[in-house]
Symmetry: none
Subunit: 152 residues, 2 copies
DNA sequence: ATTTTCTAGGTCAATGATAATCAAGTGCGT
DNA sequence: ACGCACTTGATTATCATTGACCTAGAAAAT
């Protein structure tokens, strides 16, 4: 057992695996009780591990008969992917945001580990970037590099 | 006893030797306590002796149940190759020289086409470089990028 | 039909537990 | 004496957990 969030993540992933459909429905309260935690813990897991950039969409409903639906998003054509990536990067990005994005792309096998390393090194070598600060220059370089290999 | 960093390095290498897997997990705090040093000492050892150039990758997580994972990627004398490449690049290089070198590396299958593209894009994105002009900045970036992935 | 109540899920800020970074200090080998 | 590798600790960043408070939707009451 690593930690609660990890266990909940695994549980959800197992559910998704087991399904024919590429979505599952949960009840937040039940799941929280099952893991003996506070309900907002579930939101934390979803927010940190089932984001769009990691290939998931969340849909939910409150009130009686409330639910949380988790959909696994399949990847489209390469130009759609490029658009999606440009959107994810945006106009400005910080180094650590870029790092997270690259990790996610590697997890989804859009890029290899070596490619991720190359991009990280290139970003690190941009002059005059203060840590944690959003930068247009970083964003441009990142989009150029990703666009250069994902499109072809 | 040579020095602390050396001892910690040896300890980590021994752990890696002893494992079936080619990675180990550490807790920075514990290791620091074990060696009676400050935790950031561990980062120093990792930064100075377990770099990608030397055939290692580090992965970590903070907070409760935090950890540091060290993966071995090498299988051979990577430092020889790194030295060779640094020699090829030299202190200064022009964009077109770099391009020729990258082509050669791709032909010999040291890097893939995608990796070559990534590096070329990164080089092209360096500001204030005139085509054909030797540049220390280009050389540094190129060496950093190649050194980062030519490990096995 | 409208209002009230109840039952979900959502958000956010505080807290504690780690790890990362950075800048300054130390000391050894040449 | 100088440079470089090493050491240290203060500061910053990240991850996980919790709980108080907020909001949406459905059912019940009027």
């Amino acid at each position: 057992m690593q930690n609660l969030s990890h266990d909940i993540e695994r549980y959800i992933l197992d559910l998704l695996e087991g399904e024919q459909e590429d979505f599952i429905s949960l009840r937040r309260k039940e799941l929280a009780e099952m893991f003996g935690c506070v309900p907002s813990q579930i939101n934390y897991v979803l927010r940190s591990r089932f984001t769009p950039e990691q290939g998931y969409l969340i849909e939910s409903r409150r009130g009686e008969h409330g639910y949380i639906k988790i959909l696994r998003v399949t990847c489209g054509t390469s130009s759609e992917r490029a658009d999606h990536i440009n959107e994810l990067v945006g106009d400005e990005i910080s180094f650590s945001e870029a790092q997270r994005l690259l990790k996610a792309l590697q997890d989804r096998e859009f890029i290899t580990e070596r490619e991720r390393l190359l991009i990280e090194i290139a970003l690190r070598n941009v002059r005059g970037i203060r840590r944690g600060e959003d930068s247009e220059e970083l964003a441009d370089l990142l989009k150029n590099m990703l666009g250069g290999i994902i499109t072809n």
